[in-house]
Amino acid sequence: MKLNYSQAMALAVRESLQQDPNVFLIGSIFAGLSAAGRAAFTPLVQDFSSRVVPAPVSELGLCGTAIGAALSGCRPLLDIGTASFAFQAWAQLANEAPNIHYMSGGRTPVPATFYLMTGIRGAGAAQHSHRIQAMLGNVPGLQLVLPATPGDAYAMLKWALLESSSPTAYISHCQLLEDEHEVDLAAPALPIGKARISREGRDLTIVAHSVMVPRALAAADRLAAEHGIEAEVIDMRSLCPLDRETMVRSVAKTGRALIPDECHLSFGAGAELAATLARDAFSYLKAPVHRVATPDVPIPFSPVLESALIVTPEKIASEALAMLNFQKS
């Protein structure tokens, strides 16, 4: 069936609510900035009104209550909303949820899911455009899933709500909410922690996650059409757990790795991927690992200024060409 990303998430929530009475929602405006998000979630919230806890503007308190509800036997889904709001909740998200299972000596699971909309959304400026996956990636104990397609949006949310017993940051991207794909709900889902080869190729590997996946695929199409270059595109799907193996195996085949990353360049998620390849794929590399990332400046408001910073298919393709022209001296 054809589903957009928001519909896929809403379907996953609906089925999870139906399957497990311990699942409930804290907050009721999931993906609310997007028309597709509102259209998908409004009927869900109406149908399950007794399973939706209305929430005031208290990110810190709400994040803690989701943790506490998980400790008392529930499987809550908390809508933190725009990922930048997670900074309001940081003490709970980074210093409570991820530590509890470890600190309890492995006795206390925390099956809570935190819904976040990450990314440069357009006109969000510096305070509403943060991509927080790299910051959270440095917090052991938190699972980070970043579905790039409606199919993964569905499967990964169901996994977080019904199967995972650890705190999960479910990070969707503002620019993906309306993307529509054919989704086979009956097909077995790729396990969490496995990256997907979204496009096969022989000339270089583009290691992408979240919104970078469709942009990398667009770049790959352009490289093929205009230059006869076949890029392999990997959708990492989750950053924790991180599938280093698939990435390394692909680079063993292509010899080149380009990492587009919407995080800022310094200490972004791409830095961890690049460091892994620099070590584990060293003997296969024909060129240095390259990154195309958001420059190390806050995100500006003006559309002209904002556009100048965006990691586009054009930038990804042109960096790929530069890499393919690399000559070892």
Partner: protein, 342 residues
């Protein structure tokens, strides 16, 4: 008159905490474990009288000053001490230490050592119990400094909006501003006339009780916990404690050595500040004097209870000190919980 056996049990439960904490101070000073720690001496009556009112399905959240709450709820003193010493047999396999002691089996699944950190979590646990239609309630213990944190305000507001069954127990052991000196453990600095003005502004029924008066504490918690259960809504209580002199310095000390049962029979402790505290503000001595005066307890029974508790704690110390260190490989285990099978 209430049943004397019940009083002996209560006395024993309070003494267990005090004797345990004395060993914690001794072990720290002897180099038995590294790092900072906090003891509950002087506040024992609060934990014990709260836990008397609780049922097995109730949950408790505590802080870095957690030993008394765990002991009152029935945690094993030996496994607690083993955890404080970082041993493999510790309640949390050496992962938590003194600051984050937790015991899921007794309804204390997670302990935050961040000021105010547990308040939203405790409130969420109450929300979860309500969602699951559990008969359980939540008790959140915290210090006065938690009211300096925004987390307190958010948590209490949510509890009021959502109407969840939780008792907030603020154990106010702050040092009055005029008595504060540099180098002491910090006290709260709240710009409210009294702590209960804050939860009351959020329409949470709130009371104040004397933390040195066991009868008052019993009556207060019996009433408030019954109210939380029947109304399934939040209550707040400020327990006013006078800080034990050993908790005034940044690192706890035992001024006057171990607490002496003879102080209940007229002997005077040294130094002066301890004597003043023992005369009026020690809940244990106040309780003992009351029981002796009423004839509910005699000297022999009091000493027998203390001897029993001392033996129990000596065994706990022996268990902890003779426990093995964890396998270093344990350091990288247990970050994530196993997935549930559906």
């Amino acid at each position: 008159m209430e049943d004397p056996v019940k009083h002996q049990k209560r006395l024993e439960n309070m003494l267990r905490i005090r004797r345990f904490e004395e060993q914690v101070v001794r072990l720290s000073k002897a180099g038995g474990f590294p790092g900072h720690y906090h003891v509950y001496i002087g506040q024992e009556a609060t934990a014990v009288t709260v836990c008397e009112q609780l049922e097995p399905h109730d949950m408790i959240f505590t802080t870095w000053r957690n030993h008394g709450h765990l002991l009152a709820r029935g945690a094993s003193p030996g496994r607690m001490l083993a955890e404080i010493l970082g041993r493999a047999t510790g309640l949390c396999r050496g992962k938590s230490g003194t600051l984050h002691l937790a015991d899921k089996e007794i309804g204390m699944p997670a302990t935050s050592a961040m000021v105010g950190g547990a308040l939203p979590i405790a409130t969420g646990a109450a929300l979860g119990l309500k969602h699951r239609r559990s008969p359980g309630i939540v008790v959140a213990f915290f210090g006065d400094a938690a009211l300096d944190e925004g987390a307190f305000y958010e948590a209490v507001n949510l509890a009021g909006l959502w109407k969840v069954p939780i008792l907030y127990v603020c154990e106010n052991n702050s040092i009055p501003p005029q008595k504060r000196r540099r180098g002491q453990f910090p006290s709260s600095s709240l710009n409210a006339a009294q702590l209960i003005d804050v939860p009351r502004a959020l329409q949470i029924p709130s009371e104040v009780v004397d933390g040195a008066d066991v009868d008052a504490l019993c009556g207060c918690f019996r009433k408030l916990i019954a109210e939380v259960r029947t109304s399934a809504s939040a209550r707040f209580v400020e327990v006013r404690c006078t800080r034990w002199p050993g908790n005034v310095p940044l690192w706890p000390e035992l001024p006057g050595g171990e607490w002496n049962l003879e102080w209940a029979f007229g002997a005077k402790p040294e130094p002066q500040d301890l004597a003043a505290w023992a005369e009026k503000s020690d809940p244990l001595l106040n309780y003992l004097r009351g029981l002796l005066e009423a004839g509910t307890l005699d000297r022999d029974i009091a000493f027998a209870v203390d001897a029993r508790v001392r033996n129990e704690i000596a065994d706990a110390v022996h268990f902890a000190e003779s426990s093995p260190w964890p396998d270093p490989a344990e350091a990288t285990r247990g970050t994530f919980a196993a997935e549930r099978r559906t």
